[in-house]
């Protein structure tokens, strides 16, 4: 598929990110001070992660939009070709549906295989994970811990203990079995 639109939207978002980093982004980076410093700093980081996630999301939507527009353009082109060849447009719903399905699938196959989609996907996933992690830390430190409630991090620590203990028990059972067999 034509990559001009995809390149243009990538260029736009790159420009947007640079402009953001040079302006509002700098304000967000201003260090926090005072007794609530730690909590406020987590809020600041979460805000930054939210902005990055939204930017990546918007970029992905823009790329999908380009692919949809290209697929629609191709469908229209094929329709026109068919009208020119046969004198009529697909007379049934099925005729149009098949043309639409084939063209959309083909166009999206090209889009999904492009470096643009792989880049968008990697960026969206990465920013989404940063946002999740930051939100979790924020909730754990600013809400759960002050309320004396268990956190996911503590549960993970316990899970690791259980995992290591089970592993050790299995190893010992295996050693015991092999020494008994001897």
């Amino acid at each position: 598929m034509e990559t001009t639109d995809l390149q243009a939207s990538h260029d736009f978002f790159e420009l947007w990110e640079k402009a953001y980093d040079a302006t509002y982004g700098r304000i967000i980076d201003v260090p926090v001070m005072g007794p609530t410093r730690e909590g406020a700093d987590r809020l600041r980081k979460n805000f930054e992660a939210t902005i990055n996630l939204h930017a990546a999301w918007a970029q992905s939507i823009a790329s999908f939009q380009s692919a949809f527009m290209e697929a629609t353009r191709r469908t229209q082109e094929k329709m026109e070709e068919r009208v020119a060849e046969e004198g009529v447009s697909p007379s049934s719903y099925k005729g149009y549906y098949d043309l639409w399905m084939e063209t959309y699938s083909e166009t999206f196959r090209e889009f999904l295989k492009s470096r643009f989609f792989a880049t968008d996907l990697a960026k969206l996933t990465s920013n989404s994970m940063d946002f999740q992690k930051s939100s979790r830390e924020l909730i754990e430190e600013n809400i759960l811990r002050p309320a004396n409630l268990p956190t996911r991090t503590e549960i993970d620590d316990l899970s690791k203990e259980v995992y290591l203990l089970k592993k050790r028990v299995k190893e010992l059972a295996r050693e015991l079995r092999s020494s008994t067999e001897k």
Partner: protein, 361 residues
């Protein structure tokens, strides 16, 4: 659109609704079996043999961690398992279960040298066979390859189906996307990687076909059948089988984070397995240790595990008895298509049977 068209459309909608209201209960994985071993979430199932004296070398089927093992026994008339049993083979299968938060630290080593090794020990104990046949499917095939290279003394035959071993290809979209994924961030954020997240990736490989066209096709098939009793019966079967597949597609277990991290990084990104550089718990996996007979089965139109990802296995192993089979079908078609029953299963079964007797070496 005329009034007659509207009336006709309404009738079609009513008929469709009628078909869905009458769909009887359906089940999957119905071939009789018994659970012979359990360990954490993992279960080892032994299928009840269909012949008096099955072949002495048992076959252990190892499916992927993603999705469920019962795709190999989805419906009674399209079951890989049943076909193998009918041919006199003694069949076992591993059900990996549904990992929960406590399993997030499980590694590939835990799966291969832990669960899989224990299951194999159990099969050897129950069957009395010194060596068994491993039949690995998809990621389960990759695990089977790893196991066979590390413990060749326990494996008589290795059969792999739609199994990726050489991940450095751009033929499949998953291979393209996985190269850019930050597995560390995914695992650090989730711990247990949600099955739905992976499923979204699978659905994206052909979104219009799997999210729209598949359902349109179902309605067209129902609409195409006659109004009489025979047509009604056929429609019920169609919907039942369609729902079986729907259940399987969206029955996606979550993934143990550490195993997922290693699979993405070591296999998809660094491609260590085929280079004989992959390590499990300090032990290097050298594919040249695979000397047992090898059957490598793949689908020509497989968009999840392209031929380029499977084929190099035959050149990487030291086996002298090795064979490649390529069938003109896709990933899922390998298990549930008519072709699977008519051509693929009989050939795999025949390959296994000729190497599963007392006298075969």
């Amino acid at each position: 659109m005329e009034v007659a068209d509207v009336v006709e459309s309404n009738w079609k909608a009513m008929r469709m609704l009628d078909v869905f209201l009458k769909v009887p209960e359906f089940s999957v994985g119905t071939t009789p079996s018994e659970v012979v071993y359990t360990e954490d979430d993992m279960r080892l199932l032994h299928y009840i043999p269909l012949v008096k004296s099955p072949y002495p070398v048992p076959v252990l089927i190892v499916y992927a961690l993603v999705n469920r093992y019962y795709i190999l026994d989805l419906q009674p008339d399209k079951s890989v398992v049943r076909k193998l049993l009918e041919d006199g083979l003694d069949v076992y299968i591993i059900d990996w279960g549904y990992p929960s938060g406590v399993d997030r630290y499980l590694t590939i080593d835990d799966y291969v040298n832990g669960y899989l090794d224990n299951a194999i020990e159990k099969v050897r104990e129950l069957s009395g066979a010194e060596k068994i046949s491993l039949f690995g499917v998809c990621q389960g095939g990759t695990f089977s390859v790893m196991y066979s290279a590390l413990h060749p003394e326990k494996i008589r035959n290795l059969a792999t189906m739609v199994t990726p071993v050489d991940f450095d290809t751009d033929d499949g979209l998953l291979h393209v996307w996985a190269k850019s994924l930050d597995a560390d961030k995914i695992v650090d954020a989730y711990g247990i990687v949600p099955g739905n997240l992976l499923n979204t990736g699978f659905l994206l490989t052909d979104p219009f076909r799997v999210l729209i066209d598949k359902y349109v096709g179902l309605f067209e098939k129902i609409e195409g059948n006659s109004d009489d009793e025979e047509g009604e019966q056929e429609n019920q079967e169609t919907v039942k089988n369609f729902l079986r597949m729907e259940k399987w597609i969206f029955d996606s277990p979550d993934q143990a984070g550490e195993a997922y991290r290693q699979f993405i990084k070591d296999c998809y990104q660094k491609n260590l397995l085929i280079k004989n550089e992959m390590m499990l718990n300090g032990k290097r996996i050298d594919l040249r240790n695979i000397t047992m007979p090898l059957l490598n089965v793949m689908g020509e139109y497989d968009h999840l595990v392209p031929i380029a990802a499977s084929k190099p296995l035959n050149d990487a192993v030291a086996s002298t008895d090795k064979e490649t089979m390529v069938f003109p079908t896709g990933h899922i078609g390998m298990f549930v298509s008519g072709k699977s029953q008519r051509e693929i299963c009989p050939k795999i079964s025949s390959w296994l049977r000729t190497r599963s007797g007392n006298d075969s070496s």
